[in-house]
Symmetry: C2
Subunit: 320 residues, 2 copies
Amino acid sequence: MQEISVGIDIGGTNSAYGLVNKNGKIVFQDSMPTRGYAKVEDFVKALSLKINDAIKKAGDVKIIGIGIGAPNGNYYTGTIEYAPNLEWKGIIPLAKMFQESMGVPAVLTNDANAAAIGEMIYGGAKGMRDFIVITLGTGLGSGIVANGDVIYGFDGFAGEVGHTLVCTEGGRECGCGRNGCLEAYASATGIRRTVFELLGTTNHPSVFRDVTFNNLTAAMISEAALKGDKIAQVAFESTGRILGIKLADSVAYTTPKAIFLFGGLAKAGNLIFEPTIRHFEANLLNIYKNKIKILPSELNESNGAILGSAALVWKNINNE
Amino acid sequence: MQEISVGIDIGGTNSAYGLVNKNGKIVFQDSMPTRGYAKVEDFVKALSLKINDAIKKAGDVKIIGIGIGAPNGNYYTGTIEYAPNLEWKGIIPLAKMFQESMGVPAVLTNDANAAAIGEMIYGGAKGMRDFIVITLGTGLGSGIVANGDVIYGFDGFAGEVGHTLVCTEGGRECGCGRNGCLEAYASATGIRRTVFELLGTTNHPSVFRDVTFNNLTAAMISEAALKGDKIAQVAFESTGRILGIKLADSVAYTTPKAIFLFGGLAKAGNLIFEPTIRHFEANLLNIYKNKIKILPSELNESNGAILGSAALVWKNINNE
């Protein structure tokens, strides 16, 4: 009988789920809408039914636990707390609800911490005791591992590198209500903002002079940069500079052996890695220079979230 | 028989040492010059003799280990590596040398990590699993504890918050060769630099218009601020603002339950705490607001270094 962990990734629009074995093989995966369930109880019921169906089809498996990655997820309490992109308001005890619905232990954390655990169990951070995963999506998430464990902080909400400040005055508005946060610059949204700032501050010709803000995607910026669009190229240089400088700061905190970049903007490959690494090295304290790698995540975006969530279960078993 | 840990604090000029019991009582303490020993072997021999004398005088005690706090100390290797303020160059295996000289286990870390362990074992961080100690002396040192353990990073040199950047352009020269590091602003030296910058940029009358840079001390700035000197007051406001903003960043990394300030500049009391806490709260991400305390260290400066070093031994025994 094969031991299986269930990975669930709760997104604002859809939730992905899968059955994952200890080697990181996804034996089944699917997704269902997160929206449309006014009561979270109905969502848990619907998803539990789907997971039970999948388990039946999978045959000779033993479910050892459920791992959940969710926005604003708190590992200590197993709750989702005031997630702005979900319909369910307040504090939702999601881990307990799945535990009761499915009859196996459930553990929950935020999506970036799940990505870090996925990297540790299944990805490029195998065997590393100190590393950081940065997720470059709509925002910038971070999962920090030190001494072999995720840093959750005293209240379960540590690891918000996206909300460290790039500048203390005159910074961009951030969704958190403050100004100057890293994620307002270094994220899929941040680079779109940079393109639009450059359209205003420079006279470079650019394909983006005929595109609206709402229609612009990070993928379009990559494509244009590769074709020689000056605005797109400067936007990557600027984004990499800010990200590199702030990652150099992060080394002064926990001195990871590697920093993994995951998510939409990381898919731009060398366009983002080259300037990030260059400015990172230029800004590192001398004792850290040429010692720390910035690497692409070894999890791919389509299944990384499921693997990360499922890995939570194996990580918890290892810690016991 | 009383169990005793030997604490040694290696300074650029003098080295303090003491015999400390498990409750943090220093049963003996003294110091000797660090300078004047061209060969580190001679220093270890001289200090070992002094410690052995102290042990004899202390009577019925059992030495369980030696803890050493030293600049550029590496916990993993027990070595001092390229310490700019010491006469011994290169990599010095100091823990091993004391272990052989004294015949008991010796463990070494840098001074700020020793201060953090001292706070955890003997001071205000008792029972806390997540906290940060910031030492505000000539420079700014930091010891970061998460999940109950000091974060040493993959190579033993984590926790250099003093070398995170306040600004990415136009910052002050730092001793590390870069510009804009936090310790160039928030430290006993940093506030002296701020006073001199203000003497240049403002026309405020000030007692410091008759003082040279080399003669100015942080204690003089405290005294002047209390007497209403405008330059001194603005210097504290400016220092607290920069420190508060950067400590808000540090919460986004490890989310400590408390941040303890230790060392010369922390002795300024409310002059430094009030603006630091005000700007800290104003710059915290909303989920962290009003949850994290900035507190004075409960170790005093004269014996804190010895207690911190001695506490290393107890901490290591607890971890085994």
